[in-house]
Amino acid sequence: MTMASTKELAANSRDIRPGRIIAWTLLLIGGLIMITPLLFMFSTSLKTSGQVYDLRLIPAAPTLDNYIKVLGDGRFMQWFFNSTLIAVTVTISNVFFDSLVGYTLAKFEFRGRYFIFLAILSTLMIPTEMLVIPWYLMSSQLGWLNSYWGIMFPGMMTAFGTFLMKQFFEGVPNDFLEAARVDGLNEFTIWWKIAMPMVVPAISALAIFTFLGNWTAFFWPLIVTTSKELYTLPVGISSFSAEASIQWELIMTGAAIGTIPTLLVFLLLQRYIVRGVMLAGLKG
């Protein structure tokens, strides 16, 4: 007994030995350094143009004037709406089609299955940058330039999502699907009502990744949109900042407006997001 308790004591004292405290402190300091740019961004967005040169983190007289000014003309609201609409639509499309294709490739036997799988997987090797010129040509011929559809169409399905969902559907036991088949459900209903609920963690991981990827997307929206009403938030922030030139308090306000929504969502859903990223990273 005494042996065990001294061992336990030793283990406990090992847990709080100086090395651990130093490591913990350094990690905390490192983490605070990581969010320093975000803190300064918020801090400056609450300062007047006269206070910008005062580099103290906590503004002397915080004011929301910049937000009123930046949000006042409605441009940011429009861009925010565009980004949300686009990211939500593309996410729904990916959840639907990537799951459907992943399920079909995992659970159906037919000639050509392996070929289709390889073909889709091989598109992972094609960089977006190579496709933008043909997409631009296609969009201008079909009148898709400067439209929501023009921004969205390249991302409606992804090989990454298909591959991720296929991996997870392979883990769904066939017995469940057979039982549903015996009950006379059609294949679409079996997929939607029986198989989909069994891979919810994968669906949420896919949804988080797709949403975040499209919310922060810059390259293609920059190319396909020229009218300001159709900008997404990142493209809008970029053009707004270039126009504001040296009015740093307004630039920081624009940047903060673009950052706040994702931070809020993260604070609400931290557990799911971290788990989703782990899942997608390890299986994908």
């Binding site: 990690l27 905390l28 073909a119 997409w135 296609m138 390259f219 938030l233 990142p234 920081m252 390890l282």
Partner: protein, 310 residues
Amino acid sequence: MASANALPQTGPVRFWDRLNISTKRVIWAWAFLAVPIIFYAGIRFYPTFQAFWLSLTNWDLLRPAQFIGFANYQKMFADPIFWKVFQNTFLYLIIGTPVSLVVSFVIAYYLDRVKLMHGFIRALYFLPFLTTAAAMGWVWRWFYQPVPIGVINGFLSSIGIAQQPFLRSVDQALFSILIPAIWAGLGFQIIIFMAGLRAIPNTFYEAAKIDGLGDWAILRKITIPLLKPTTVFLVVFSSIGFLRIFDQVYNMTTNDPGGPLNATKPLVLMIYQTAFSSYQMGYAAAQTVVLFTILLIVSLLQLYVLREKK
């Protein structure tokens, strides 16, 4: 999917009923794949071939494309700016990937053992990953401004170090852009490393402790070798990211994109300018083919490294 749902009802119902179960399932499978096949053919494969074809033409949006053989490639390989850009792109890769991997591994390794305020500290590192480069590029740009505006120079001068030009200097600009790029991706890499660390069964560590191995020996002989799949994934993922760097560079150098004097210009920015500022679509397509080739080599190297292990 209305059409897929309606499939069994359309046409002669008797015909559908006479099919055996496996045939029905094959029909269902192709019905499910119909829209995706059109998508992948029309929006992935056809444009890929078109990019290769365009790289052999002089298309400039105004006149129809004319076949000019390998003239675009000859022009590119003879262009000193292309080689400068090529060099920049590899600098982003060669510095960015190892630095971000080592830093994120060290943080993940220690963070994994931290219990006190674990979620909070993890969140601090992860938050920058959720930001958009278009917004943060401007924040960092402001950080790099000279005194009295810039935060970093303000800090340096307060501790008695001379002001640095950062983005205005041919020598420092590329590194000044790399730091935010590494910063933004660090959270993701830390999370993935931590997932990899947790996937290592505890029995390995227990066995090592019985053998009397110290922390350092355990790290070298057990953790790092068993973490290899995670590491390879992150090496490839971050390499591809740095090879395709664009958002940060574009937003931090808007008055002279890729400047000063092309010191920060990566391949994707050159592609963007060639295509959408000077409208030399054929020439830009040739540059995308080069990017494609580089990324293909990186991906094939990954397959090779992972295969060797088995």
